[in-house]
Assembly symmetry: C2
């Protein structure tokens, strides 16, 4: 019942970048601010860049920036790029066919939570997350 470490890194990095506005964030800066391994974060940011979620600038004073409206970047998009969506909207016992008509033994107990989480990651965007009162990244 958790995200992968990589997804955690990605979300935290993007939330921090969003909080910094349009200015460039280098991997080194992000790594130090968020206490994320530098090399690993470098590759993760490249992945997010290749997916079109962020854009990069090389050379001195380079870095990454978010060049899309924050409300268009949903949690779902981030997780999908990093980990895929196989672990979401999934039968708790792993049955490929599990629904109201042909439920697994856990279906009735799992359904509401599964749907709630799926709805949450689908609808929550960086804009909503930034509006929270958190002091952490």
């Amino acid at each position: 019942m958790r995200l992968s470490t990589t997804s955690e890194y990605a979300i935290r990095s993007l939330v921090y970048m969003a909080s910094c506005g349009p200015e460039l964030c280098s991997v080194k800066h992000l790594s130090e601010k968020l206490d994320i391994p530098y090399k690993y974060l470098g590759r993760l940011m490249a992945t997010l860049g290749n997916a079109g979620l962020i854009s990069s600038t090389r050379g001195k004073n380079g870095g990454y920036t978010i060049d899309k409206p924050l409300s268009t970047i949903r949690l779902l998009d981030i997780v999908q790029i990093v980990d895929g969506l196989d672990n979401f909207d999934r039968c708790l016992l792993g049955f490929p066919e599990c629904n109201d008509d042909d439920p697994c033994p856990m279906h009735d107990f799992w359904k509401e939570h599964n749907e709630g989480i799926t709805e949450m990651i689908t609808n929550v965007s960086l804009a909503e997350i930034l509006a929270s009162k958190s002091k952490k990244f």
Copy 2:
């Protein structure tokens, strides 16, 4: 947002055993009925036995049986034995200190789902699961 494969195996096996009543279930029988790798299931059942959740009988016509009231075996107990509880009641972004007073950026969005799931696995027992109308194991 899923259980480990091993936890899935454990729950499915115990639900099936519960549905069989007090009679012995061999690993071979369970493996074939539930389509779970034989050797892997053997070790898993031994683990559940060592933890006291089920009891074993060796020799011909031997197997495993549940000798406790089904209402006393909670989903939490099963998952705890197999995987531990580190992945439950956990901050979505991995912060060790995350609560209403010092929340992470995702806290407000994750809290209700986290609490709901924790409450579900804590309160649902094999007795309730057996009462469901599922035809799968």
